[in-house]
Amino acid sequence: MAATRQPSPAKQITPVRIILIAALLLFLYHNLIHNLGVFPEEWNLGLREPLDMFKKWVIVANRDGHWMFALFFQPLKGSIDFFMRRIEDFMYWLPWTVIIAFVFFLANKIGDLKLALLTAFSLLMMGLLGLWDESMRTLALMVTSVIIALAIGLPLGVWAAHNDRVETMLRPVLDAMQTMPAFVYLIPVVLFFGIARVPSVIATIIYAIPPVVRLTNLGIRRVSEESIEAARSFGSTPRQIMLKVQIPQAMPSIMTGVNQTIMMALSIVVIAALIGGGGLGDVVLKSLRRLQVGSALEAGLAIVFMAVLLDRLSFAFSQIEHVSVKKHQGFRLLPRKWGGKSWAKAIERPITWVYAMSGRLEKKVVHLFSRLLPKQDENINSAGYFITMALGLLLLLGISFALSWVEFPENWDLSLSKPVDTAVKWAQVNLYQIGDTFIGTGPFSDFVSLYMLRPLRLLLLEWLAWPIIILLISALAWKAANWKLAVYSALSMLFIGWLGLWEASMDTLSQVLVAVLISVLIGVPLGVWSARNDSAEQFLRPILDFLQTIPTFVYLVPVIMLFNLGRVPGIMASVMYAIAPTVRLTNLGIRQVDEAAVEASVSFGATTWQTLRNVQLPLSLPSIMMGVNQTIMMVLAMVIIAGLVGAAGLGFSVIDAMQNNKMGASIEAGLAIVLMAIVLDRITQSWAQKQADAANIT
C-alpha cells in the first residue's frame, strides 16, 4: 500500500481531492441546511413503455408473420426445438439401466474406476430421489445447448487463433459477456422468443460460449513455435498443421474450455426454470414458492449430483495424458494412511481383488475383439474397448426392454422430503434461538439486518443523497484508474437513476456490500490459514471446488431452511457461493510471497503475526484484491437469484416484473444490475491492477 503513495506534499490539489471536498460540502448542505431529496422522478427516462410496446409489437409481428420472424426467428426456434425434442425423446426412450451403464463405462475409460463409480452413483441418486425424468429433461436441455455452443464456439476459437483482428474484436465482447450475471441473458431472449424451452437453450448458448472460444484460441496460440515450424518444414499445408498439430496439441486447453462451458451451461439451465425451461430447476422453483423445503432439497441434491457428474467427467477429458504405459493404480476406498490397519485391509482386499479381476476381464474381452479388427494399430485398445462397450450396451438394452426395466422403478425412492420437512420445522423452532443465548439463526439474522443492512441502507439512501454517492463513486474510480473511468462510473450511476431505480439499486448495493464484507471477513482468514497450513489447504480445497461446482440456484435451498425469507438468506446464499475466490486467491497470494522476504523479516526477529501483517499480507494484496473482485462479481450474479427468496432490491424487481409479464420493468432492472456490475468490476479490477503494478507483480 505504501508503495503507491507518492512522496508528494500533503496539501497538493488533485482532482480526486476536489471531488471529495465537493462531496463533503454537499454532505453538510444535505444534512444541515437543505435535504436534496430523492432522485428526481421527472428525470425518469421511462424506458419501460417503449420496451413494453416493443414486446407487444413482437407478439403481433410473430403472429402476423413479419418477415424477420418468418425467415429468422421462427426457423431458428423450430430447428432448435426439433433438435432438442429428438434428444429428449431418445433419452426418455433409453432405459435407465443403459444410461447408467453408458456413463459408467465411458468414465471408466477416460478416467478410472473411481470416477466411473462416482458418476454412476450420481445418476442412481437422481433416480432414487424420484427425479429421474426431470433429470433427463435437464440433461437433454444441457446436451442440446452444449452441442450448439461447441458447434459455434470451437470454430470461432480456431478462427480467433488464426486471425489477430478477429481476436482483438472478440476479446472485449467475451470480457463483457463474462461480467454479466447469467440471468441477464434470459431477458432479451424472452423478448424475442417468448417463454419456453427454446429461449432457455438460446440464453444458455450465449452465456456458456465464452470459455470454449477463449480457451480454444489460447490453446492454439500456445502451441510451441518450433512444432509448427517443424510441421511447415515437412511441407504441411495450413490445414494439415491445424488438424495434425495445433488442435491436438491444444486439446487439454480446449477441453478445459469445454468443461467450463458445460458448468456455465448447467448453472443457467437451472435458472432457466424461471422462463419455462423445466426440469430440475423447475422443481426447485416450485417447491421454493410453496416453501416445501424437502422437495426443494431433493431437487437441489439432484442438481448437485448432476453438477458433480458433468464436472468430473468433462474434467477427466481435459486431463489427456500422453503416456505410453498407463500406470495401473489399485482402487482405494479408504485414505492411504489407514492402509496398515488390519480392519482396513480386510475391507480393501476384496475391493482390490474385484478391481484387479475386472481389469483382467476387460483386457481379455478387449483383446478378443481386437483380433476381429482388420489392422493392428496402436489405438487398438481404445477401439476394442468402445466396440466391446457398444455391444455390451446393446445387450443391456435388449435385456432391459425384455424385462421392462425402462423407467426408473418408482418404489426405489429415498423420499427425503418428509424427513427433511420435519427436520426443517425442528430447525426453525429449535435453532432459531438456542436457549436464552444469542446463538441461533434468529439473533444472527437480526444482527445482520439491524446492525449491518439497515444502517448501510440508511447511509446510502438518506445521509448520502444521490449526488454525493455519484461523486464518491467517481472519486473512487479516479483513484483506482483515471478520469475516464470516473466519468464512465458517474454516467452509469446517473443512468441507473434515470431508469428510476436509484432506491432499489442502493438497497441492492447495501446487500452486496454486506455480503462482500462477510465473505472477506471469513474468506481472508481462511485463506491465510490454508496458506500457512498444508493440511488446512488440503481440507479446504475439495470444499471450495464443490462450492464452485454447484449452480447458484441450489444455494437458496439450505439458506431458506435456516433463515426463511428476506434479505438475510439472500446474503447468506451469496456468501456461500462467492467466498471461494477470496479464500483461494488469499492462499495463493501468500504462498507466492518471496521466501527471502519472509526469511528477512523473521531474521529481524519479527513475530509470526508481524511477518504476516507487515510482509505477507501487503505483498499478497494484489492477489487478494483479485479474489475480492471475483467475489464481488459472484455476489452480483447472485443478486437476482436472491430476489427469489425475497431479498428486496434490483433482483426482486427483475423477478417480480418477469413473473407479472412486465417486460419493460424487468429489462430496466436487469440493465441497472449490469451497469452496477460493470462499474464495480472496473473499479476493483483497476485497483487490483494498480496494487499489482506498485508491488511489481504481474
Binding site: S224, E226, S227, E229, A230, A231, R232, S233, F234, G235, S236, T237, Q240, K244, V245, P248, Q249, M251, H322, V323, S324, K375, E378
Partner: protein, 345 residues
C-alpha cells in the same frame, strides 16, 4: 563432389518496415548495429553467396545473432529471404510457388531442430512417420518404413513412447529419424545438438557421422560450436553479423584464419588433430631423392610428430594415386605447431 547442390547468391534477409529499401541504400562498410540504430531495420543475412556440393556436410558456424539460423530457414523459405537467389537442384527456391515449395519440403529436404520440435501428442513412431503422412503415404506402409528408420537411429523398443518420456539425446534421435524418414536429398540441421549435455552431444556427433557414411546426404549443419563444425564439416562457413567471413575446409581455416575474429575461434583447437601433411608440406626439393619413408596427404600432425621426431630427413607426402606431391620435415611440423600464422612457402 563437384556439382553444386545448393547455391546461395547474394541472399539478404532484412527485418523491418521497408527491407528492400535498406538493401538498395546501405553501404557495404556500414555496420549492422549502425543500420539498426539509424533505420530500425535488423539485417540478419547480408549478401551471402556460397555453394554446397552434393554429399558434403557443410557447416555454418557463428555466434548467436550472426544470422546462421535465419540463413538456413531461408533455404526452405520458413523465412522469406528479402533478396537474392537460392538455387537447389537448378531451381530457384525464392521464386517457387506455394505448391512447388511444398513439394520441395515434402520430398527434397527435411530439417532437424535445436529444441527438437517433436509433436508431444504423438508417439515416437508417429512422430517419425509425420513426413510420410503429410506426403500421403498409406498408414501401414509409413509405419513399416518408420520402424526401419527407428532401428537405424538406435531407438529399438521406444516406438510406442511419447517424446517427453525420452531423454534429450533420445528425443533428438527421434528428430533425426523423423527427418530421415522421408529420405530427403538435403538435410538441414539447426544446432541439433546444442541443447544436449557434452557427453551426449559427442555421442550424437559420432552417430551422425556414422549415419552420414552410409547415407551420403547433402547436409547443411548450423552450429555455434567451432569444434563441432571442425568435427562434422567437410567445409565450414563462418558467419558474423549476417555475413560470411570465411569459407574453407576445417584445416584451411585453422591453418589460415582470415582475420582476428576467426583466429579467436582457432586458438583452442588441438592443432595436431586438425592439421595434416597437406598444410605443412612443401614442394619436393631434390627430385632425385625420391626414396625414404612416405605418408599419405591426410596424415595428421599427431601421427607426423613421432615419424619426424628422430630424423632430420624429409618424409615424402603422397596423394591418393601414389604420386609424390611434397615433403615434410621436423622443422615444418614444429613450425605448424607453434601457432605461427604466416606460412612461408
Amino acid at each position: 563432389m563437384n556439382k553444386p547442390k545448393i547455391s546461395f547468391r547474394n541472399v539478404w534477409k532484412v527485418f523491418g518496415p521497408t527491407p528492400e529499401h535498406i538493401i538498395e541504400t546501405v553501404k557495404p562498410e556500414t555496420a549492422v548495429s549502425d543500420i539498426l540504430a539509424k533505420t530500425g531495420h535488423v539485417v540478419a543475412v547480408r549478401d551471402v553467396s556460397f555453394d554446397v556440393y552434393e554429399g558434403e556436410v557443410f557447416c555454418v558456424m557463428g555466434l548467436s545473432g550472426s544470422g546462421k539460423s535465419t540463413l538456413v530457414r531461408c533455404l526452405s523459405r520458413l523465412i522469406e529471404p528479402t533478396a537474392g537467389k537460392i538455387i537447389v537442384n537448378g531451381d530457384n527456391v525464392v521464386e517457387m510457388s506455394e505448391e512447388e515449395l511444398r513439394d520441395l519440403r515434402r520430398h527434397k529436404m527435411s530439417m532437424v531442430f535445436q529444441r527438437f520440435g517433436l509433436f508431444s501428442h504423438r508417439r515416437v513412431i508417429e512422430n517419425i512417420a509425420y513426413g510420410l503422412e503429410i506426403q500421403g503415404v498409406e498408414r501401414e506402409e509409413r509405419i513399416k518404413h518408420s520402424y526401419e528408420i527407428l532401428e537405424k537411429v538406435g531407438l529399438h523398443g521406444w516406438d510406442q513412447h511419447y517424446p517427453h518420456e525420452l531423454s534429450g539425446g533420445m528425443q533428438q534421435r527421434v528428430g533425426l529419424a523423423r527427418a530421415l524418414a522421408v529420405d530427403p536429398e538435403i538435410l538441414l540441421c539447426d544446432e541439433p545438438f546444442s541443447a544436449l549435455d557434452p557427453l551426449i552431444r559427442r555421442d550424437m556427433q559420432n552417430e551422425l557421422l556414422r549415419l552420414q557414411r552410409d547415407l551420403q546426404k547433402t547436409m547443411v549443419f548450423i552450429t555455434h560450436d567451432f569444434l563441432e563444425a571442425l568435427k562434422l564439416g567437410d567445409r565450414i562457413a563462418i558467419m558474423k553479423d549476417g555475413e560470411v567471413v570465411q569459407i574453407g575446409t576445417p584445416e584451411d581455416i585453422v591453418a589460415n584464419p582470415i582475420n582476428d575474429y576467426v583466429h579467436e575461434f582457432t586458438k583452442d583447437v588441438p592443432r595436431v588433430k586438425v592439421l595434416t601433411a597437406r598444410t605443412v608440406m612443401k614442394p619436393v626439393t631434390h627430385k632425385e631423392e625420391l626414396i625414404g619413408r612416405a605418408v599419405a596427404i591426410d596424415t595428421t600432425l599427431e601421427k607426423l610428430i613421432p615419424l619426424t621426431a628422430d630424423t632430420d630427413d624429409a618424409i615424402l607426402v603422397m596423394d591418393g594415386e601414389d604420386n609424390v606431391i611434397g615433403e615434410v620435415n621436423r622443422k615444418r611440423v614444429m613450425m605448424a605447431l607453434a601457432t605461427i600464422q604466416k606460412k612461408e612457402v
